[in-house]
Symmetry: C2
Amino acid sequence: MKPEHQIIDLAKVKVSCTNCSLTELCLPRGMGEDAVRKLEKIIKRASPLQKGEYLYRGGDPFNGIYAVRSGLIKVYANSDGGEEQIIGFYLPGEILGLDAIENNTHACFAVALETSSYCTIPFADLSGICKVVPELQDQLFKIMSRELTNENQMLLTLGKKNAEEKVATFLLTISNRYRQRGYSANDFKLIMSRQEIGNYLGVTFETVSRIFSRFQRDGIISVHKKYVNILDMDALKKLVSGCCG
Amino acid sequence: MKPEHQIIDLAKVKVSCTNCSLTELCLPRGMGEDAVRKLEKIIKRASPLQKGEYLYRGGDPFNGIYAVRSGLIKVYANSDGGEEQIIGFYLPGEILGLDAIENNTHACFAVALETSSYCTIPFADLSGICKVVPELQDQLFKIMSRELTNENQMLLTLGKKNAEEKVATFLLTISNRYRQRGYSANDFKLIMSRQEIGNYLGVTFETVSRIFSRFQRDGIISVHKKYVNILDMDALKKLVSGCCG
DNA sequence: CGCGTCGTTGAAGCCGCTCAATAGATGTGG
DNA sequence: CCACATCTATTGAGCGGCTTCAACGACGCG
């Protein structure tokens, strides 16, 4: 047994946005030192979530928003009929929970798809700092605005694209987001299952599987289990821009 | 001819949120007198848009957000392939343009579907007031949060529902929004065309037409041209909650 | 009246779903 | 370590809901 003093309460660990590699993607992006220091005072870091553990559930009171530090968080909504619709997958540096501000209650569910660490940002405190740190207010407006833009894109994908275009769009979006984070844009692991990809895109998982296979036959990608290698990025891009390139 | 002094430059007309019947739906909701007065100072009212006139287009610089005063504004995005996806229909009291904050550029198009009046709220000014009027900042966060919630609902509709459920959901949503505004929840005119309803819901206009006819045959609604009368609200609600009541 | 737009309705075809079988991966317990 | 159960992924076959294509009627407008 290790001595007791090595047991660390992660909730009390001081969060350092300054030293965080995600700063340029996350809330502190473009903020001054002073502002970041104020931010650090309210942000809490809890112990990481294990796969399958929930960050919040529908009906939970809204306490704060969350920034993903590592791992992957799935957010989904439940329809009246009980089936779930995945709203989004959140990568390190991205912020979730913003949709609960209005009602002070979460309507969606947020669950870790792999071991994930995150920061909790109590919203009352954040809102308070916004009132004295104009840059932070602007940054929060921008983050919410970006979320709206992302969802608009998703509406377009769900409403206008066929299954093949949906899957191609999905792969490209994931690829871009990994590149932003310094990972390879061509080789990556899809943490989520085929089931979850299909749910997100509004198609069945069999269709996702078939299209992956087709893309592989056509030399556009190569897939082994959850690992994807994009071989022909241009072909993928051509697929999403409809037709007639 | 009327004398010249009756020609009014509407852009210079003082806007009075205080006297506006939409206050409780719009930006000033729940704000104190002082805050509303500050808000009134920056809000501009231009001459109404005629049917088919644009509030903004994709690529336009972002100057401010807009509050609908009367009429109906359609917002849509263009895919790479050139086809449009309608993102939403905005009724009096609702605010649009929030998705352009991040990039300082509009990615979507906003066009009037009938004669519509609106208020322009320059975002730089609004953001400035937010910094001294905490209630306004909170209200803006809430409005953006609500927009996110709405879009989440729409993702669920597009991703999980069949054509019948989509149309039923659409009718119920419209009905609720009219009721909120003091209009009849059972009798209303659909300003948008079948084409636009279908586009919004991710189905063809023929399908929308067929489902309207089916609903009428089943005694759920009665439709004549653009006029809809909801006869059996419960039946509609049962349709959207999937199955098994 | 003639023309264009919008809405309705029918018929046929296709894309994606449903159902099903199989294989591989993963985990568990004897 | 292997037998067994479970879960995920792949692939095939057939079906069905929605789309596509087409014809027609109802309006509105010059």
